[in-house]
Amino acid sequence: MLELHAVAFLQLFEFLSDFELVMKIIVLMAILNFARNHLGNSPTSLLVVAIFSYFVLFMFWPFFGTMWLLYSLLAMGLGGVLVDFFFVSQMAGGRPDEEMHGPHGKKHGPHVPGFGGGGAGGVPGMGPPMRPPG
């Protein structure tokens, strides 16, 4: 059992390191494309690629890698998914409850006078009518 856990753990690390390498290759391609688009195929563009690559891929990779991953996921629509997950899903309850409304949508539960639904002097949905003190 312990060996199985160790193997799974090592595989996870292997996947993460491979994924990091793939990310670095894609970021390097993006830098190459950016420099070529702006400067063309010139020695200056190669110099810019070298400087950018040194800073982005080697010096500040944890920061730029995280930012790039976040940017990619947000560009793919992760923000909408998170909004739906945390806000739209909280509005659960579109389906009427069978116990409260019955098969024909008519309330047949215990009726409390004054609580909505037109009790004596009550306004539907506004609670019991006000009574003078004493």
Binding site: L73, M76, L78, V81, S89, Q90, A92, G93, R95
Partner: protein
């Protein structure tokens, strides 16, 4: 509620990997599609050059051969389902079909 949604997302995310393992033709098809996707993406960045072939080969080894089920799941969820806002429809459908809170 949140647990149900997480379970549904997990099932949807794992489905491509499970299908790839269970049905070999589906696995081959997804691998071919991913290889084309990788090669066309690299060609967009680097143009028609030898470097594009080398980079494509490296990426295809990692994405299509070594970690194919994981990459297929990521590809289907991120590039196909999230691109057409499938999860919005899924969450809305599940949330509106749940019984009312008291």
């Amino acid at each position: 509620m949140v647990v149900i949604l997480l379970l549904v997302v997990l099932i949807v995310a794992l489905a491509p990997a499970v299908i790839m393992v269970l049905f070999e033709p589906a696995g081959i098809l997804i691998r071919i599609i991913m290889a084309f996707l990788v090669f066309s993406t690299v060609r967009q960045y680097l143009g028609n050059s030898g470097l594009a072939l080398i980079v494509s080969a490296i990426l295809i080894y990692f994405i299509v051969i070594k970690w194919a089920p994981v990459a297929a799941s990521i590809y289907v969820v991120v590039f196909l389902l999230m691109a057409v806002n499938f999860f919005s429809v899924l969450f809305w459908g599940i949330a509106t079909n749940m019984p009312k809170k008291h």
